[in-house]
C-alpha cells in the first residue's frame, strides 16, 4: 500500500465566505450600511434595535431589519411596530444565521429594495459562539452585552468580541442593582479587542442613544 498527501488549503466555510463576499459587494454598490448584531439570548438586542429603528425613522433615514430566531416571529412583530420593514428568518434549530439564509430572504423580500435603504440591521440568533464564524457580508459586527450578564463575558467569549467592530453595553439603567463594575467591563472588552468603540446604552431611558446614532451616521457617510 502506498499513501500520499494531497494539499488542499481550503477554508472549511468557503461556501459561506464566497456568498458573504457577494453580499458585501451588493451592499456596497447599493450604498447601504449593514450591521450584524450578536449577543446572548436576553441581552436586549430587540429592544435596542426597536429604539434604533424608531430614532432613525424620526431622522428621516431609511432602515430595515432582518431578524433571526430559531422559532416564532415575535421579534419581527415587535420591530415592525417601529414602522420599518422587518423580515423574520426562522432557522428551525440552527444556532446562527449564515450568508445563504440572508441571501435567500433578501432576494424574495418584495417590500424592500437595497438601493432605497441607508441601513440594514441583521439581528442574529441569540448565541455568543457560533455566529462569530459566519460572515454575513456585514460592514460592522456589533457585540452586545447587558449589565446583568457579568463583566467577564468578553473574556469567556473572545472569539466573538475579538471579531467585532463595535460593542454595546445594554440595560445600564440596571447597573446599580446589579452591582455592575463598569470600569472592569470596559477593561475586559478592551483587552480582547483593543481600541473597539464601546457604547453604553439603555433602551428604557434612551441613555447612550445619541452617541450610537452619531456613530451610525458617521459610518454611513460615503468615504
Amino acid at each position: 500500500m502506498t499513501t500520499r498527501i494531497v494539499e488542499l488549503r481550503r477554508g472549511i466555510l468557503k461556501k459561506n465566505d464566497e456568498l458573504a463576499a457577494g453580499l458585501r459587494q451588493r451592499f456596497t454598490s447599493a450604498g447601504v450600511l449593514v450591521l450584524n448584531l450578536v449577543s446572548s439570548p436576553g441581552t436586549g438586542k430587540t429592544a435596542f434595535l426597536e429604539l434604533t429603528l424608531r430614532a432613525l425613522r424620526a431622522r428621516g433615514a431609511h432602515a430595515a431589519a432582518l431578524v433571526g430566531d430559531l422559532e416564532t416571529d415575535n421579534d419581527a412583530r415587535r420591530l415592525a411596530a417601529s414602522g420599518a420593514p422587518v423580515r423574520q428568518i426562522n432557522t428551525h434549530g440552527i444556532c446562527h444565521l449564515d450568508a445563504e439564509m440572508v441571501t435567500k430572504h433578501l432576494d424574495d423580500w418584495e417590500e424592500v429594495s437595497l438601493a432605497d435603504l441607508n441601513y440594514l440591521f441583521i439581528e442574529n440568533v441569540g448565541n455568543l459562539v457560533c455566529p462569530s464564524s459566519y460572515d454575513l457580508g456585514e460592514r460592522i459586527r456589533v457585540a452586545l452585552l447587558s449589565v446583568t450578564e457579568g463583566e467577564d463575558k468578553p473574556l469567556k467569549y473572545p472569539g466573538l468580541f475579538n471579531s467585532s467592530d463595535a460593542a454595546v453595553i445594554t440595560k445600564i439603567d440596571l447597573s446599580v442593582p446589579c452591582g455592575f463594575d463598569r470600569e472592569l467591563a470596559l477593561k475586559n472588552i478592551n483587552e480582547i479587542r483593543p481600541g473597539i468603540r464601546i457604547f453604553e446604552t439603555s433602551a428604557k431611558t434612551s441613555a447612550g442613544m445619541d452617541e450610537w446614532l452619531a456613530y451610525l451616521a458617521e459610518q454611513a457617510r460615503p468615504s
Binding site: T3, R4, I5, V6, L8, C95, G159, N162, E191
Partner: protein, 132 residues
C-alpha cells in the same frame, strides 16, 4: 454547537477532492484551526464520526492542528504568539495589540490517501499471455 455543520462541510469538501483519485481511500484529514475560530476540538471529533459515517470518507482520522493567536505589535514592530485568548497584548512590551496575524483559521490543510495495490485495482487489465 455548530461543529456538526462544520463536520458536514468537511465531509463534502473531502469527498469532492478525493473523487479525483479513483480507488484511493482517505485515511486522514488534516485541519488548521485557530484558537479564536470558536471550534471545540472534542466536539468536532465527535461530530466528525457522525457526519462521515456512511460517506466515502468514513473511517478517516481527523487530525486537528490547533494554532495559537499571533499578534503584531505596532510599538515593537514584531509578530508574537500570545498565551491563551484572554488578553491581546504584546508579550514583549505589554502594549495592547489589535492587529491579528493568526488565530481565526478554519481550513482543511491536506488529506492523506491510500492508493490501492496495483494488482487489485478495479478495472485494471489482467496480464494476457502472448502466443506466438
Amino acid at each position: 454547537m455548530h461543529e456538526l455543520s462544520i463536520a458536514a462541510s468537511i465531509v463534502e469538501t473531502v469527498t469532492e477532492s478525493a473523487s479525483a483519485y479513483p480507488g484511493a481511500r482517505v485515511i486522514a484529514v488534516r485541519l488548521r484551526v485557530g484558537a479564536l475560530a470558536s471550534v471545540i476540538e472534542d466536539s468536532l471529533q465527535f461530530c466528525w464520526e457522525l457526519a462521515s459515517e456512511g460517506s466515502p470518507v468514513a473511517g478517516a482520522k481527523l487530525v486537528i492542528n490547533m494554532l495559537p493567536v499571533i499578534v503584531h505589535c505596532d510599538a515593537c514592530g514584531v509578530d508574537s504568539e500570545i498565551e491563551g485568548v484572554q488578553s491581546f497584548r504584546c508579550p514583549r512590551c505589554g502594549e495592547l495589540a489589535a492587529d491579528l496575524r493568526q488565530g481565526r483559521e478554519l481550513e482543511i490543510e491536506s488529506i492523506e490517501l491510500e492508493d490501492p495495490e496495483p494488482g487489485k485495482q478495479i478495472g485494471a487489465p489482467s496480464p494476457v499471455e502472448e502466443h506466438i
